[in-house]
Every structure is written in structure tokens, then in C-alpha cells.
């Protein structure tokens, strides 16, 4: 079966695998060239399709989805936006998964030993599926910054991890959302693995006063762009199918 191929991924726009400023990349980055397949086949251009049946009612409400006796502590925010492809075509029905630290900068994870306390009412994990216009939203608390070992002690800006599936498995993307105005943004070695300031700018969610939930939550807008689908004109079909 023939399917429209995707735009070539711009590897200079994405962060390089090797960047000694972010030490963990040094031993985890391949040294050989990636093998370009030039064009995807069915295995690359199909991908898992997740329906709403996989979602629980509170999956996009991180203030309540792991709460036991009250709401999670922190600045209440709504994060929303639209998922487009590079042709500006909305991407409906795609799964987003998010994870983040709590308001004190601590993750609910067996390997995180940061001194900030856990919040018994916060798990830090959520999911949603985009609607017919590619729009999504989730409610959470603004995560705190936290220190990590890199070049001595460095601090991560507040951020939310986002995993997203497109329609083709090769549209798959995992990234991080940052918050407009955070003074730690220019200091972050992980964000600075990206060299183009315009690319960094795409990862910064904007304060959206118009879409606040009044007397409840501030809103941030974060649109995302997945790889575009190439137009198909003439198909070469050596086997005549």
C-alpha cells in the first residue's frame, strides 16, 4: 500500500545527539551516521491509533488524577494548544502524554531523591487526545525548578515533558514545554542543546490571559507542530499495483 511520505526531518533544527554541555549525551550519542531511508514504507508511515477508551476521566487533570484527600498544591494552570503538521493541518486524534515535577521540583519517581517533599496529592502524570481540530488541554500545577548534576549543580527551568504520537510512527516526538519569562531558560544546558533561538522559542509556552479559568487557574498556550505530509503526484509502481 502506498502512503504519502513525510517531510524530511531537519536534523540541524533538532538538538544534536552529542553535546558535551549536557554530559549525559557524551556516552549515549551514536558516532556513526544515521542511515537515511529516504522514503518510509508501511511500517514507518502507519502508527498506533489510540481511542478515547484508553483514557480515564481524570487523565488530563493532574490536580486531581492522583489526589487522595484534596487538590495538588501549587499554582493552578491550564495548558492548552493545537497540534498541527508542517502544512498547518490540524492533527486530530493524537495521543499526548505529559509528566512533570511537583510545585517543589520533586518527581514522584523511585530514583528522585531531591530534598523537596512529595505532594501526596500529586502524581505528575497525565494524558489526553486531541479533538477534531487538533486541540488539547490539561490542568495541572506549575512545576518547580530543581537542581541536577551536570557541570556541578545546575538548575532545570520549570518544564513539562510531552510525548506525542502522530498518525505515522515517524511523526513521533518527545519534547519539553517551558514557561514564558522563566529566568532559568537561558541557563539550561538541556535546552541549550538546541542551537537555533527560533527553535528554542517554539518550546516556550505563552501566558494566555484570555483563556484563564476565572478565579481558578492561569492559562498557558503551547501549540505543537509534527512533521508534514508530502504531496503525492505521480506514483512509481514497478509492480503495476
Amino acid at each position: 500500500m502506498s502512503r504519502p511520505d513525510l517531510f524530511t526531518r531537519d536534523r540541524n533544527w533538532h538538538p544534536p545527539q552529542y553535546d558535551p554541555g549536557y554530559k549525559s549525551t557524551v556516552l549515549r550519542s551514536p558516532r556513526r551516521n544515521l542511515i537515511s531511508l529516504e522514503k518510509g514504507g508501511e511500517g514507518e508511515l502507519t502508527g498506533p491509533v489510540f481511542g478515547h477508551q484508553i483514557l480515564d476521566e481524570l487523565d488530563n487533570d493532574l490536580i486531581r488524577n492522583y489526589a487522595t484527600d484534596g487538590d495538588a498544591i501549587g499554582e493552578r494552570i491550564v495548558v492548552h494548544g493545537q497540534v498541527l503538521d508542517q502544512n498547518a493541518k490540524p492533527q486530530p486524534g493524537v495521543l499526548l502524554e505529559v509528566w512533570q515535577a511537583n510545585a517543589g521540583g520533586r518527581y514522584r519517581h523511585v530514583v528522585d531523591g531531591y530534598v523537596a517533599p512529595l505532594d501526596p496529592n500529586f502524581g505528575g502524570c497525565g494524558r489526553c487526545i486531541t479533538d477534531d481540530e487538533g486541540r488539547y488541554f490539561f490542568r495541572t500545577i506549575r512545576p518547580g525548578p530543581y537542581p541536577w548534576r551536570n557541570n556541578g549543580c545546575e538548575w532545570r527551568p520549570a518544564h513539562i515533558h510531552i510525548s506525542i504520537f502522530g498518525h505515522a510512527f515517524t511523526q513521533r516526538l518527545v519534547t519539553q514545554l517551558y514557561f514564558e519569562g522563566d529566568p532559568l531558560i537561558p541557563l539550561c544546558p538541556i535546552l541549550n542543546t538546541i542551537t537555533d533561538p527560533a527553535a528554542v522559542d517554539m518550546l516556550i509556552a505563552r501566558l494566555d490571559m484570555e483563556n484563564q479559568k476565572v478565579f481558578d487557574s492561569l492559562a498557558y498556550r503551547f501549540d505543537m507542530v509534527l512533521r508534514g505530509q508530502r504531496s503525492t503526484y505521480f506514483e512509481n509502481r514497478p509492480q503495476g499495483n
Binding site: 538538538p15 544534536p16 551514536p30 492522583y66 508542517q86 518527581y107 516526538l173
Partner: protein, 192 residues
Amino acid sequence: MPVKYLKETPSQTAGPYVHIGMLPAVAGLKVRTQEKPWITGLKGETIVIEGTVYDGDREPVRDAVLEIWQADGKGKFDGGYAGFARAASDLKTGLYRFETVKPGGFTWHDGRMQAPHVTVYIFARGINMHLHTRLYFSDEEKANAEDPVLRMLPSQAARDSLVACVDPAAKEKTYRFDIVLQGERETAFFDV
């Protein structure tokens, strides 16, 4: 000036806490809808795929998350998510494990037959953009020799890096697939 299209949202590492969002049970969070995300829902001959991801010092990467996407035993892709599974490297040993079926072969975009294979993505701290590889099977020698993608690879070592070997000692039919991120015996990774 050439036509301008939107730029893709840039990638960032999945980081060390990736499990919270992608495999909450591994992080110690209560399990949600999908209880056994490392098992695909496909029909075919049941197999186990297991292995370890190694870094440039040949140390196991203990915080990787792997995703697979594959066809069923007849080489057909499921319209839902049955062909998808996700597993974490064990936080202590580094071993990952999938339960799936042996996929059938299916055609490449140019009509040539591809050998049975599984698409594998690797996410981890220190990986700025997930890595994409393919797993082939050691007991498909003839199909592998004719596979259009394996034939594109620059060396026999690169081809060998993608072939999972039958583990003769295992009780269930098991293929061992180690992934080497860097250095000698580095796995071949794709840009598709």
C-alpha cells in the same frame, strides 16, 4: 524565496523520569488502563524479545524506554494500537523485555519484499532525540539477505547489529536484541 512551511517542534530528551509519563508503574505510580504495556495484542507465533541497551563504555543503560511497532504474523498492520508496545530497561539490571508475535514480511514502498522486522525506538536521558532502529530475526537468513533496507547498510557489521539471535537456553521462544548506542559494534540507526 522558497516556500516556507512550519518548522517541526524540536525534540528534547525524555530524561531520567520518563517512566512517570510513559510507564507509570515503573516509577512507582499506580497503574492505569493498560496493565501490561510490554505485550502487543497481535495474532501470530508468540515470541519474547529481550536485551540490554549499552552506552559507549559498554555499561547497561538502566533508564531507557523502548517502543516497538510491528506487523502481525501475516505481515498486516493493525488499525488500532495492537502492534505497539512499550518496555523499560530494568532499573537495576538494564534488561528490557517484550512479549509479542513474530511478524510476517511485507512489501517496501517500491514493492520489494522486506524480511520480518520490528521498528524500535529508544528514549532515555542523554538521548536528545529518540533513536530509530529495526530488529530482524536470525532464523530468517534468506529473507534477510534480500531485504531492501538491510542491503542499504554500509557494512556487514551494520547488518549484524540489527539481527536478534534465538536464545537456545530460553524456555519460551526468545530473541536476544542488544542495542549499542556508541562505539565498536554500534547499532545502525535510521533517519526516515
